[in-house]
């Protein structure tokens, strides 16, 4: 693999990416190798088909949505910075990051808010900023086994929206979503150790 510095130099815009995402040089290099190994035809970008080849995602109930999250705004390709940007959401939160951060700068991608936003957009497919009962139902259907009947699913979806919905509009906005998860340790749940 050669020495790190020369290899990192091959990554275009490495410094910008690092600043934006906060990855270490080593992690960035590994992600680059991963990107290139996924990119079968060496196109320089990833398409949905490339990500669909990851066999384990095929048996993940949310596999499709996860792949979609790499292609924001309906685009068909994702380049390396985009790829890294998505993965940056899953960086573990470092204590020093939060303390020494300049409050005027935009939040780092792996902040709690941004992690929650990432999870939120898995539900909110039509990007209207709210999770409707239908969208909740769709996610439920994906995640629950076939033994559960449709009525049960609907009532569960109803109940879920009901629990979180505070302003009574029948949908869960992002703030309501965050509020319902305030007790959860999102930082740990949505962090991947190897992405330090």
């Amino acid at each position: 693999m050669g020495s790190h510095s020369s290899a990192v130099a091959r990554i275009p815009d490495a410094d910008d990416i690092r600043r934006e995402t906060g990855f270490s040089q080593a992690s960035l290099l590994r992600l680059y190798h991963r990107f290139r190994s996924l990119d079968r035809n060496k196109k320089g970008y990833l398409s949905r088909a490339d990500l669909q080849q990851i066999g384990a995602l095929a048996v993940n109930p949310l596999g499709d949505r996860i792949i979609d999250s790499f292609f924001p705004d309906g685009s068909l390709q994702v380049d390396f910075p985009g790829f890294v940007r998505v993965l940056a959401h899953f960086r573990p939160i470092n204590e020093e990051d939060t303390r020494t951060r300049d409050p005027k700068e935009p939040e780092p991608l792996n902040s709690r808010m941004n992690k929650l936003r990432f999870a939120f957009q898995l539900y909110d497919q039509d990007r209207d900023g709210k999770i409707s009962q239908q969208e909740m139902l769709q996610v439920l259907r994906l995640m629950v086994g076939v033994q559960v009947t449709e009525e049960q699913l609907e009532s569960i979806a109803d109940r879920t929206v009901q629990e979180a919905d505070e302003d009574g509009d029948g949908a869960v906005s992002f703030l309501e979503f965050t509020k319902s998860l305030e007790k959860m340790n999102i930082e740990q749940k949505m962090s991947i150790r190897i992405l330090k």
């Binding site: 066999g55 993965l87 899953f90 109940r159």
Partner: protein
């Protein structure tokens, strides 16, 4: 079977009693019949017959001596198996205590029976039987089932921990006990240093995998798992080597005459024995891999080759006084990779199951011998020795764990936390190995052998029962800190979503290799070793038709059980929609939560799962099948409605994955395909379908039209960059209707990394495949066992 769950112990207790009665009847018969130390003389029947003048021909006579040994051994094994069945019937038990507890109890029971019925000559374990017959299967199984990628990734830490840990423990315990023995008050002053050291070495042999099953569901992280596994694997070898060296010392000199040069010689011997054993193992592993390359016509002897060569490596190493245990371990590890690719599916399954069976039988027998020697008169109880042994075992294990890990953490990218270290410390459960070594101490050199045996037994009982039972709760306590109050439905749903999300993103990231040595080895492996050791030939068409037959059968089954019916995914019944904000009672909420908890899909486990006593059926496979089927169905529905192709479509209808009857043109060699499929070697994040496809893909005659299949050619990057074509048949007329053109247009891009491609990419994706692998290897094996029969069902359009 419902009643059996509620009354779990009754059925097998009854069976136990029956068998026990038979046992005692057999043994009492022994006492009645004329007997002349029948144990080793099967011909005694003739002797007995001839010594008594027979006046008449007896029509019905009993001859127990002839069959005594095999008869009793079989009964014991059967008893242990029945106990295991009972153990697993009550589904909560395996999570509470390790299975060794059960085996020990059974052993003690048999021991009690034998003692109670005053059996004159029970079969006894002696050194030859143990070292030549009982030990190799256990070691072989450990080596074979070890996941290689994580092992080699952590090999530095594992060697450091297992090797040095064993040494520190052995010498620490030995020396401390020696100091205790010096104290006159305990009456132990005749136990000299060497004997104490020897005792230390045999008591430090741990068997931590026995407890792995107990905290399996707490999802211990992978490196921790590997440390425990690796320690178990290497520990036996190291203890036995140490034991043999110390015995040699004991025989060789009087204690005072040992010079430093002897000690140096001992150390050198230790290293040579270890490395020599490994070398032998590797050589034999390669030889057997090479031989399996040629066995496609007689696949019935493939398991035989595997077992015989492993055993041969053990014996050959033992001939030269090298470590047979390390030899057989190295042989299993080396052999596994290539043999798995070469042998047929049935052989693979056979090898797996037979290995488990052999090792399970061995262990059962050892525990029974242990039980027999527990209940008996040959004990010497010395309070001081035993208590201090127990204490020192724990103390020295703690010292070695924390000290060694402190050092190795400095060099690790992902250091082990204190919690991990506590788990490792607490999993120091002793097992069959220590007992055997203690039992086989030569009495001539060890006048106080009985005391040693008693002390060993006490340590084993203590660690297995007390530590084994409490380690589960401990791990759960250390690991998952659940909030006491129940989570709302919202939280449950979101937590599960995030778990799935995290697992998915982890899969996208793949596994990262840290070692260049590993990459270099892989290059070497691909370029040279695989060419020599892996088969080239295509399978005969009889196998192909066998696969086809089984796929059809499975297809029929699935339809009949209703999995494929689309009625389960009907559109929402609008009429029954609960309107508005209806107030739900707490019981409703409770039941909803229950439904959710029970029915949500499990998150794919990335950590390995190994059970020493069992080959668990993969329940995740069923889940995976379900998920894929549903995707197929939703896709099919959306296609029927005339939607455009999924690129750029909302979520659920995105899949274009081809899971169908494999079909191919004659080109691709089986080796390449199997290579794609198999875990450690598959260098691609191969799609599930292609894995199944590939494994199946052989030269099918193109005239299998009777299944109304169409072929959609697909490009594939093959080894060396030659494209080859695979066809994807579509079955069922419905699919044809949807439009062949669409699918042709959708021809997926090449989905494989040829095994040979660039190693920087190949390396990482290989590991990913192999991590999917440890999980998936089981799935794939299961799939292969079903002859990839569900592939036709999981059709995509």
């Amino acid at each position: 079977m419902a009643f059996q769950v509620f009354v779990p112990f009754c059925p097998w207790k009854v069976l136990l009693l029956l068998v026990a009665l038979k046992c005692s009847e057999a043994t009492s018969n022994l006492n009645e019949s004329t007997n002349a130390t029948a144990r080793h003389e099967p011909n005694v029947r003739f002797a007995a017959a001839s010594s008594e003048p027979d006046e008449k021909i007896s029509v019905f006579a009993l001859d127990y001596d002839y069959v005594q040994i095999p008869y009793e051994v079989t009964l014991w094994i059967l008893l242990a198996s029945l106990a295991k069945i009972g153990f697993h019937l009550y589904h909560r038990l395996p999570g509470l205590m390790p299975e060794s507890c059960l085996l020990i109890v059974v052993g003690a029971l048999v021991g009690a029976i034998i003692f109670g019925t005053d059996h004159k000559s029970p079969p006894v374990m002696d050194s030859n039987i143990y070292f030549l017959y009982l030990l190799p299967p256990i070691i072989l199984e450990g080596g074979y089932f070890m996941p290689t990628r994580p092992f080699f990734e952590n090999i530095g830490s594992i060697l450091w921990w297992a090797g040095l840990g064993a040494l520190i423990n052995a010498f620490g315990i030995g020396l401390s006990l020696y100091l205790i023995c010096q104290i006159k008050a305990f009456g132990l002053s005749d136990v000299n240093l060497l004997q104490n050291l020897l005792f230390g070495s045999l008591i430090s042999s741990v068997d931590p995998v026995a407890v792995l099953a107990v905290f399996e569901e707490a999802r211990v992280n992978e490196p921790l798992y590997m440390m425990i596994f690796g320690e178990a694997l290497l520990n036996d070898g190291i203890s036995v080597v140490l034991y043999n060296i110390l015995i040699a010392f004991t025989k060789m000199h009087k204690f005072e005459a040992i010079k430093p040069v002897d000690i140096l010689a001992g150390c050198a011997r230790f290293i040579i024995v270890g490395l020599g054993g490994v070398f032998f193992g590797i050589v034999f592993g390669f030889i057997s891999a090479f031989i399996t390359r040629f066995t496609q016509n007689i696949s019935a002897i493939e398991p035989l080759i595997v077992f015989m060569f492993s055993y041969l490596s053990y014996l050959a190493a033992e001939t030269l006084y090298l470590s047979g245990i390390l030899a057989i371990t190295a042989c299993a590890v080396t052999m596994k990779k290539y043999v798995e690719e070469n042998v047929s599916q049935t052989s693979y399954t056979t090898i797996k199951y037979f290995m488990k069976m052999l090792s399970s039988v061995s262990e059962t027998l050892i525990f029974i011998f242990m039980g027999v020697s527990t209940v008996g008169k040959n004990h010497e109880w010395n309070w001081a020795f035993i208590c201090f042994t127990l204490a020192f075992c724990q103390i020295w294990r703690a010292i070695s764990v924390f000290a060694l890990f402190y050092v190795s953490n400095q060099f690790r990218t992902f250091p082990f936390s204190i919690k991990d270290q506590c788990i490792i410390f607490y999993s120091g459960v002793r097992g069959a190995g220590s007992f055997s070594l203690a039992f086989l101490l030569p009495l001539s050199l060890f006048p106080r052998k009985k005391m040693f045996v008693t002390a060993t037994l006490v340590v084993i009982y203590f660690t297995v029962f007390i530590q084994g039972i409490t380690i589960g709760p401990l791990v759960r306590y250390l690991g998952v800190k659940k909030t006491n109050k129940k989570e709302s439905i919202n939280e449950e749903l979101h937590i599960r979503l995030m778990d799935h999300l995290k697992a998915g993103i982890e899969d996208v990231c793949g596994q990262w290799s840290h070692y260049q040595v590993r990459d270099k080895f892989k290059k070497f492996d691909h370029r040279y070793l695989r060419k020599i050791l892996i088969r080239k030939n295509l399978p005969k068409s009889s196998i192909v038709s066998l696969y086809k037959k089984l796929e059809m059968k499975q297809a029929i089954e699935m339809v009949e059980t209703g999995i494929l019916s689309s009625t389960s995914f009907s559109t929402p019944l609008q009429a029954q929609r609960i309107q508005g904000t209806k107030r739900l009672s707490p019981e409703d909420v409770e039941s909803m939560r229950d439904i959710l908890t029970r029915n949500m899909y499990q998150v794919r486990q990335r950590t390995l799962s190994y059970n020493k006593y069992n080959l668990k059926p993969q329940t995740c496979e069923k889940q995976a099948k379900e998920i894929l089927t549903r995707r197929y169905n939703t896709l099919r529905d959306s296609m029927r409605k005339g939607h455009s192709l999924p690129w750029g479509k909302p979520a659920d209808t995105k899949n274009i994955r081809y899971l169908s009857f494999p079909y191919s043109n004659p080109q691709p060699t089986r080796r390449d395909l199997r290579a794609e499929e198999l875990t450690d070697n598959s260098s691609s994040d191969s799609d599930l379908s292609f894995i199944m496809f590939n494994a199946n893909s052989q030269t099918r005659p193109l005239q299998e039209r009777q299944l109304t299949q169409e072929i959609i050619p697909m490009k594939n990057l093959n080894r060396g960059g030659k494209p080859s074509n695979f066809g994807y048949p579509r079955s069922t007329s419905q699919e044809e209707r949807v439009g062949r053109g669409r699918w042709a247009a959708l021809r997926p891009k090449p989905l494989f990394h040829a095994v040979d491609e660039e190693y920087e990419s190949g390396a990482e994706s290989e590991e990913e495949a192999s991590t999917i692998g440890s999980r998936w290897s089981a799935e794939h094996r299961c799939r292969r066992e079903h002859r990839r029969s569900h592939s036709p069902l999981l059709h995509k359009k």
